[in-house]
Subunit: 490 residues, 2 copies
C-alpha cells in the first residue's frame, strides 16, 4: 500500500520510517534548494497542523514554506516498518466518526481506512478479583466489573457529558462554572463523585488512555473541554463509534507524507527554527543555514516547544507564561509482532482493559489485508510512562511482555518476533504525547493566550483546536484556522 509513495527514506518519511514506503522520487536536498525564501507565510512544523495550514495557503494561491526540524514530516504520526512490507504506527494512528476533517483529507489524498480489529471477546483484568475472575472475557464496550462500579462509571460519564455540554470548546474559560471547575483537579472531582475502588480504577484508566496523564495532573475544566471538543466522553474512549474506530491503510503518517508531496518543493526538512524575528512588518527566520522572510508565520508545534523558540521582539508575558503551563502527556507506545494474530484463534479481539501495569490497555494492531502477521499494541501511560521512560529498551520489553503474557498467555512472550516501542517524552521535537494539557488554573488564567496571534505570528497545533483537540482531526482544524487568520490578514 505504501509502496507507491515515491519518497525516499531520507525524504519526507524520514530515516527509520517505513521501508515499505521506499522508492525514490523527490530527494530532500533538492526540495530544500528549491524552496522559496520570500513567501507570504512561513509555517513552522510539518505535523498535520502545519501541513494543513500550508495546504490551505496553497489552495488560495498564497506562497509559503514549511520548515520542519526533523528529517521527516508527520509530527506525532510516524510509521515504522516491521519488515515484509508491513507498517505500524509508533505515534497517533486512529480516526473515527465525526472527525470529518481528517476523514475528508484521507479521502482527498486517495488513502483508505479499515476498521480496528474488534471481533471476538475482550479481556478484563482486575488484580483484586479472586483466581479465575482476575482475567475475564467480555463482549461489547462494558467490562464485567462489579455492577455497582459499572453503575458509578455510567453515572460519571453522564455527569461529565452533562457538564461538558456547558463548556464552549472555543472558550472553555467562559463556561458558567469555569472558575470552579478549573480550581480542582480531575482527581478531586473523581473522588467526590465515585465511591468504589473499581469504578475509580476504570475512570483512571480512561483518563490515562485519553490524556496520557494522571487524573491529578489535569484540571477538571480541561477534561470537560476535551470532552466537549470531541462531542462526548464515549467518543473519546470507544473503538467502534469512537476515536479508535478506524486505521489508515499504509499507516497514518501517509496523510502527512501525501500532503507534503502536494506541497513540494515548499517543505524543508532538517530545518529547526530556533528564533523568529518579527515586528517590523515582516517575519524573518533562519533555518538550516538559510534565511526565510514572510509576511506572517504560523507556529504549528506544541505550546511548550513554541516557548523554546526565541522571539524578537520577545513574546508578551502572558503568552510566554502560557507556554510554561501546557505540559505534554507521557506515553510509551509498545508493540509486539507475531507470525500470526494467535489470540484471534482463541476468540479474542486483542483488546484488554486492566488495572495492572505497566500495560493496562491493549489492542490488536495487526496489519490489514494479506499480511499474515499479528501485532499486539500496548500503552504505558501517565505515571508509569514517566517511570519507564528512563528504563532500558530491554527492561521495557520485559515489562511489556510480562503484561501481554498476563492477558494472552505464554505465547505472547514466546511467539514474539519483534518488539518496538517509543517513549515520546524522549523525542526532542515533541517531548511528550499525545498532547499538551492544562493543569488547574491555566485555562481561566491565560484564556485567549492559547490562540491569540502575537503580531504577525499565529498559533496552530492540535493543542489550539476547538474540535477534537489532541487528535489528528484537531490538528487539521487548527492549521486551517491559523491559515484563515493569515489569509484574512494578507
Amino acid at each position: 500500500m505504501a509502496r507507491d509513495e515515491g519518497l525516499t527514506r531520507r525524504g519526507l518519511i524520514g530515516a527509520g520510517a517505513a521501508s515499505g514506503a521506499g522508492i525514490v522520487a523527490a530527494r530532500l536536498p533538492e526540495a530544500a534548494e528549491a524552496a522559496p525564501r520570500k513567501v507570504d507565510a512561513i509555517v513552522i512544523g510539518a505535523g498535520l497542523a502545519g501541513l494543513a495550514a500550508a495546504d490551505a495557503l496553497r489552495s488560495e494561491g498564497r506562497s509559503f514554506v514549511v520548515l520542519e526540524a526533523r528529517d521527516r514530516v508527520g509530527g506525532r504520526t510516524q510509521n515504522r516498518s516491521i519488515g515484509k512490507g508491513d507498517v505500524v504506527e509508533i505515534g497517533g494512528q486512529w480516526v473515527g466518526p465525526t472527525q470529518d476533517r481528517v476523514l475528508g483529507l484521507i479521502d482527498d489524498l486517495g488513502l483508505e481506512t479499515f476498521p480496528t480489529f474488534i471481533d471476538g471477546d475482550n479481556l478484563y483484568f482486575r488484580s483484586a478479583n479472586p483466581g479465575p475472575l482476575q482475567l475475564q472475557r467480555y463482549t461489547g464496550t462494558i467490562p464485567p466489573a462489579n455492577p455497582v462500579a459499572l453503575g458509578e462509571v455510567q453515572l460519571t460519564i453522564t455527569q461529565l457529558d452533562s457538564m461538558a455540554a456547558e463548556v464552549p470548546p472555543e472558550a472553555p474559560w467562559d463556561a458558567p462554572n469555569a472558575v470552579e471547575w478549573d480550581s480542582q483537579t480531575f482527581e478531586t472531582w473523581k473522588q467526590a463523585n465515585t465511591a468504589s475502588d473499581e469504578a475509580r480504577d476504570l475512570v483512571d484508566l480512561a483518563i490515562q488512555a485519553v490524556f496520557a496523564a494522571e487524573p491529578r495532573d489535569l484540571s477538571l475544566l480541561h477534561v470537560l473541554f476535551y470532552i466537549a471538543a470531541a462531542g462526548g466522553f464515549n467518543r473519546l474512549i470507544d473503538t467502534a463509534g469512537g476515536a479508535q474506530e478506524r486505521r489508515i491503510v499504509g499507516g497514518s503518517q501517509l496523510i502527512a507524507i501525501r500532503l507534503a508531496k502536494r506541497l513540494r518543493p515548499n517543505v524543508v526538512l532538517k530545518a529547526p527554527v530556533r528564533s523568529i524575528r518579527h515586528g517590523d512588518g515582516l517575519v524573518r527566520v533562519r533555518a538550516a543555514g538559510k534565511e526565510y522572510e514572510a509576511k506572517r508565520a504560523i507556529v504549528s508545534i506544541p505550546p511548550t516547544l513554541a516557548g523554546r523558540i526565541r522571539y524578537s521582539p520577545a513574546l508578551p508575558g502572558g503568552r510566554d507564561q502560557l507556554t510554561q503551563r501546557v505540559p505534554m502527556g507521557s506515553v510509551i507506545k509498545c508493540m509486539a509482532v507475531y507470525d500470526e494474530p494467535f489470540w484471534r484463534a482463541e476468540g479474542l479481539s486483542g483488546m484488554t482493559t486492566s488495572d495492572t501495569g505497566p500495560v493496562k490497555l491493549t489492542y490488536d494492531n495487526s496489519p490489514p489485508g494479506d499480511s499474515p502477521r499479528g501485532v499486539l499494541l500496548g500503552f504505558i501511560e501517565g505515571q508509569e510512562a514517566r517511570e519507564f521512560t528512563s528504563a532500558s529498551k530491554a527492561e521495557r520489553r520485559e515489562a511489556v511482555l510480562t503484561s501481554l503474557e498476563r492477558y494472552f498467555g505464554a505465547q505472547a512472550r514466546t511467539g514474539v518476533k519483534k518488539y518496538l516501542d517509543k517513549s515520546w517524552a524522549e523525542e526532542v521535537w515533541t517531548r511528550g504525547c499525545y498532547v499538551g494539557y492544562a493543569p488547574p488554573g491555566v485555562l481561566v488564567g491565560y484564556r485567549e493566550a492559547l490562540r491569540e496571534p502575537v503580531g504577525r505570528i499565529h498559533w496552530a497545533g492540535t493543542e489550539t483546536a476547538t474540535v477534537w483537540n489532541g487528535y489528528l482531526d484537531g490538528a487539521i482544524e487548527s492549521g486551517r484556522r491559523a491559515a484563515a487568520e493569515v489569509l484574512a490578514a494578507l
Copy 2:
C-alpha cells in the same frame, strides 16, 4: 551606601540599574576578555544561586566561569535608582530570621541590613464592610477581620503547619500523604477547610503574596513543601520575625554585585547560553561568540528556562518533562515615590492588607538613613498580574495609584513624584517571579528530576532549594549544594 561599589553601569550592575552605584572600576569587556575558557565548571546564570555556586568553587580553588545572559548580575534581585542617590529594589528585596545563608553572606560581603518599617498602624481594607469599617487601622500582625474568620485563619495556619511538618523538604514526594496532597489544588483544600468568605479572602491573599499565583494553580503538597522549607507558615508571611523582616542597605542586588566582584574576571555578562554540549567527558558551551569548556556545568536558572536550552545529547525525557511543569509565578512590583513618607505622620506603617485589587498588599519601602523620601510599595499578584502585564505603563500607574489612594488618601496620588514598576513575566531571562511552582501531580510525578544531575550537568536555582525555596536564602543554598556536587565529582 552604594556609591563605593566601583562598578560601571555597563558592568555588573547593568544598564538602568542603580545610578547610585556608579563610578567605573571593572568594565565588562575587559572581564569578558579575561575570563578563562577552560575551567573546572561553567556556571550558567549570575543570579544568587549561580554566584553562590561559583563562590563555593572559588573558595575550593577550582576554576570556573559564570555566564550570564543579561547585562547585569543578580537575577531576580535588581536595584533601581530613584534619583538623589536613593535605590529601591524592583525584584526580591527582603531577608529574615533563619535565612542564615543570606544573612551570613550579607555580613561576609560587608553589607548591612535595616528593619522594614513597621511603626504605626497597619490598614485593613475589606470592600464588603459597611462605610467607615471598609478601611480599618490595626496594630500587630492580625487584621481586624471578623473574629470567626480570624479563628478560621488561625486554624488553617495551624493545620498547614502541622501537615507541613510531615513533608521532608528534600523529598516532599516521600511525605506519608504525598499522593493525596499532590492530587488536589490548594484551592480545593482551602474550600474544604474554611467556611467564611473573609477567611478565604485572607488565605487567598497570603497565597498570592507568597507564590504570586492563585490557590487553584498550586498543588497542596507544593504549598506544604514550601512552608516546610521556610520553617512555618508565619515565617513566610510575617514582616517582623518573618521573611519580610529586614532590607539591605544599598539594595539587595548589592549581594550579587559584591559577590561578582569577588569572582572577577570570571563573570561574563551579555553571554546567553543557548546550547550545552556534554556527554563526552566534557561540557562545552558557546556564549557571546566564545567557546567555553569544562568538566562540569551548573545550570542556575529556573527549570522552565533551563528547558529552553538545547542539550546535546538531549535531556532525558523525565527531566525535560519536569521543565515543562514548573511555571513561574506572576507578579508586578510597583512603587510610588514621594517627597516624604507622609503616611508616617498620620501614624500609619504603610502596610495594607486588602481584598480589593489590583494592589492588595502594600509596604513602606522608603530608603533608609538620611533620605527624606517616602516610597510606597504595592504588589499586583497572581491573576491580576496576568491581566495587568499586558496593560500599558500608564494604565498600570493609574490602577496602582487608585489602589494606593484607596488606602492612603488623595496624597498618595497627588504627591507622587515618580512611579516605577516591573512585570517579571516580561523579563526574557526570568519570565515570572517570585519563583517556579508545582501544580498538582508534578512533585510525585517527577520527584528527583528536579535536582538530579544529568551526566555532567547540575541544577541550581532557588526552585531546587530544600531550605527557603523561592527566597534569596534558598538560591544560595541551591548554588552551594550544586557546587558541592561538582566538587565531589571533580
